[in-house]
Amino acid sequence: MAAVTRVNGPLVEVDRLGGAAMYDLVRIGGLPGEIVALRGERATVQMYEYTGGLRPGLEVEATGAPLSAPLGPHLLGGVFDGLLRPLDRAPAWLDPRSRPGAGPGAWRFTPLVAAGRPVAPGTPVGSVAAAGRVPYLVLAPGGVVGDVRPEGEYPATATVATVGGTAVTMTRRWPVRRALPCRERLAEPVPLVTGQRVLDLLLPVRRGGAAAVPGGFGTGKTVLLQQIARWCDADVVVYVGCGERGNELADVLAGLAGITDPRTGGRLADRTVVVANTSNMPMMAREASVYTGMTVAEHFRDMGYDVVLIADSTSRWAEARREFAARAGEPPAEEGHPADLASAIAAFYERAGRVTTLGGRTGSVTVLGAVSPPGGDLTEPVTAHTERFVRTLWTLDRDLAYARHYPAVSVEASFSRDGGALSAWHDREGRPGWAAAGARVAALLAEAGRLAGTAELVGASALPDRERVVLLGGRLLREGLLRQSALSPADAYCSPGRTLALAGTVLAAIDDCLALAATGVPAEDIESRDFTAVLRAKETG
């Protein structure tokens, strides 16, 4: 009989465990854990709950299956822990020994195919009325539809169709550490509109792309990601709160509950799946939570939806891995992280993508990962490796945050490798002038940045008039265009059309000033003009 030999926090060693495979789920004293190392019949297990009271000699039950996520219509609008167990139906204080699983529930099923027809794998056989306006699709394996149930209410685990001899239910399970398959990846760049001007105009992210948000504490990572979760033009948002604050999640939930989705008219909460593993919840479930979140995102991608996965913060995930590696006695590599840190980060971001699904639809998973560098040091390993694997980087700056300039995105320290292609997309799709406006703003900001360095040394008044006006222009762009208030109802979200119009307004004001300077008007007079209308344009709908 397999039994525990050693307990050290979340690390448990087990002996006489025959026939088990790596990453298989086991149960010890009723608590779940995952096999992370095997030597003969001895296994190292990482436990997903507080292990107080576990002792040598306890029996170990092997489940013979890897950790997998229960995927179903209950996900939309719900709040779950790192193992995708519902939190909204759990008690106020989480006792590891009394955690309810996902209740099956009953859902309204509408068939979409007729019996007797052959279908490709990934074809929806029916749709389910889940929370909100996004229909939940039941996808089938390939084969001939043998039987499909008529419209009606069915338990989530009941067979609603038989395809190619396989029973299809509204829910399914998938091992979280394995990507759900797709037919092919699509290369054509299409922007994800975030509703944040500085990002959409200067540092865009593509659908199916990956962006990282590094920033020290207090720089507004979470507020920025919350804004994107609320306003981006995705069909489904998966928000993984990984090792972060409980109050923040309460705020995310309260924020989503109170807001109407501008695109569908439904509640924003109902297009959102929240996976919450706050920093006081068991550490190793934090490690699993980014994978369960990713699996949920891929599941909705396969229904043909554009999905955004927000992971706040990937650093906590990396730290959970480091902590466990240290307990398991693995030799430390960079700053104590295990040697596979870079490959684990790469593999995670690689699951992002815009694809043709098995069923022939187009869907995407865009990954936005927060990075919390210790001491604000952007050369630390998690930040450094993440920068290698993302196409878009939004670096947050402490000085901007101290000056209460939000979003505190430092344009100089950030990049988007898709900027050109995505600007061209806007130009083509009915917003001519987008690429030109973006390029002009970027060039002015860069010039103003260079001049600011000089001005610090010699004083702004020592600069020639035109240069002083460029400095003024940089200030107008930052204040009137890039700065955006998450708290202002008129300004929290900015459509691409308005972003372009605002950029036009501010650029026109700058051009006026430059023209005045060219005719010999002293910079002092230009600086003392009233720019209130330009600066307030973003507040007036």
């Binding site: 939190l87 902590e323 240290a326 610090e456």
Partner: protein, 473 residues
């Protein structure tokens, strides 16, 4: 249950004891160590490996001799008695009385580690705690259910400030209580804290747990957890708003590092253990508000930044977990030396405004910060080009910064200011600037409170009308 006593102690090393031949002992169990002379010490199981149990001895291993001590295991994690009986008491770091009173029994017990609060049950922090300290109430308001840290370089009066807040804070008439846990304080510091809190202790509104610099170091691992367990019950069981002050968390982290080093664990930054973030989070996250329960726990960890370095692992990880920080700076010459630009209460929006403090509070704080930021830039500029070369706007902002330090920040250590007084002072500071410089404030608020001392440029108004209070020259 028959309690087995184990006497085969294989090893004693630092704060650790290895007990051999144990059976059925679980991880994180509480242990009692019996000394030959009749005394007892206490321990926690850090690891069990077949028949070996690794125990950290809270009172240290000095004087323990293998073969002459007996260890019994309780079969459960350490539990704390909870109840209103704690209020008004002064105890040591393990909760044993220092005030000559009887042991605290409580109405029930709860595990000191606590259970994780389900995030789906949390309510976002709301409503203020008024500290009576102007600069904090005005600019970094404490919000019920929030955790916000006080950071200070060595030598600054952070303990005085923490004690002053603990002595003065209130929740506008709702039931309130304070739990003050001291970890590693010197005798002098501790007696200062005791004096400052004496009245509140006597009033039965405060619990004081004192682990001093000379007390066993490892005991500090439990002190904040005992404080929080007591506070959670006062808040969520008895409906009080409880402020928990943990001073000094650097002392706590040193105890953690000592245990880690004794276990030869792989060290992370500055030799602190790799699990420091998780461990701190297990303390700091025990605050908040819970749906359907009236009370709240607000957490104020106080910590010394070794070498004044905010990127040191303890302040850095704390900053990542807490919802804001109050930073003390040696460059500010008044008490309390709060650096307004480096300080931030992230949840302030939820705690201030109409019906809570004052309608214009958020705008007023933002305006003051913006003006002080401009003053800081002007001061830097003045160092390069000389103060004479500054424009009139920059000079006005330097005047504002002076008025801010003199009229709003500077305060006696025993002075508790009402919200009314704080706002009167804040408006007096803002009135140094003309209305045109105060774009972040609404017209209604400016009409009601803005009283510039000097007439603004433009048509002169007759004396006494519309110009408000004037300072005698």
């Amino acid at each position: 249950m028959i309690e087995l006593e184990y006497t085969d102690v294989a090893e004693l090393r630092g704060p650790l004891a290895v007990v051999r031949g144990v059976a059925g002992v679980g991880w994180d169990e509480f242990a009692v160590i019996r000394l030959p002379g009749g005394g007892t010490r206490h321990g926690l199981v850090l690891e069990v490996d077949r028949d070996l149990a690794l125990v950290q001895v809270l009172e240290g291993t000095a004087g323990l001799a293998p073969g002459r001590i007996g260890v019994t295991f309780s079969g459960a994690p350490f539990r704390v008695p909870v109840g209103p009986g704690w209020l008004g008491r002064v105890c040591d770091g393990l909760g044993d009385p220092l005030d000559g009173g009887p042991p605290v029994f409580g109405t029930a017990t709860a595990p000191a580690g606590g259970l994780p609060l389900n995030p789906a049950w949390r309510l976002p922090p709301a409503d203020p705690i008024i500290t009576g300290v102007s600069v904090i109430d005005a600019l970094t308001t404490l919000v019920r259910g929030q955790k916000i840290a006080i950071f200070a370089a060595p030598g600054l009066p952070h303990l005085d400030l923490a004690a002053q807040i603990a002595a003065q804070a209130h929740a506008a008439g709702e039931p309130f209580g304070v739990v003050f846990a001291a970890m590693g304080l010197t005798h002098a510091d501790a007696s200062g804290v005791r004096d400052a809190l004496e009245a509140r202790t006597a009033a039965g509104e405060l619990v004081l747990l004192l682990n001093l610099a000379g007390d066993p170091v490892i005991e500090r691992v439990l002190t904040p957890r005992i404080a929080l367990t007591v506070a959670e019950h006062l808040a969520f069981g008895l409906g009080r708003h409880v402020l928990v002050v943990l001073a000094d968390m650097t002392g706590y982290c040193e105890a953690l590092r000592e245990v880690s080093a004794a276990r030869s664990e792989v060290p992370a930054r500055r030799a602190y253990p790799g699990y420091l973030y998780s461990d701190l989070a297990s303390i700091y996250e025990r605050c908040g508000r819970v749906r359907g329960r009236p009370g709240s726990v607000t957490l104020l960890p106080v910590l010394t930044m070794p070498g004044g370095d905010i990127t040191h692992p303890v302040p850095d990880l704390t900053g990542y977990i807490t919802e804001g920080q109050i930073v003390l700076s040696s460059e500010i010459s008044v008490y309390p030396p709060v650096d307004p630009l480096a300080s931030l209460s992230r949840l302030m929006r939820g705690g201030v405004g109409a019906g809570r403090t004052r309608p214009e509070h958020a705008d007023l704080a933002a305006q003051l910060i913006a003006a002080l930021a401009r003053a800081a830039r002007a001061r830097e500029l003045a160092e390069f080009v000389g103060a004479d070369a500054l424009g009139p706007a920059d000079r006005r902002h330097l005047d504002l910064a002076d008025a801010f330090a003199r009229d709003l920040v500077a305060q006696r250590r025993d002075e508790s200011r009402s919200l009314e007084e704080t706002f009167t002072r804040a408006w007096r500071v803002l009135s140094v600037l003309p209305r045109a410089d105060l774009a972040m404030l609404g017209a209604a608020a400016l009409d009601a409170h803005h009283r510039p001392a000097a007439p603004e440029p433009g048509p002169q108004e007759p004396d006494g009308i519309g110009t408000g209070h004037r300072e005698p020259r």
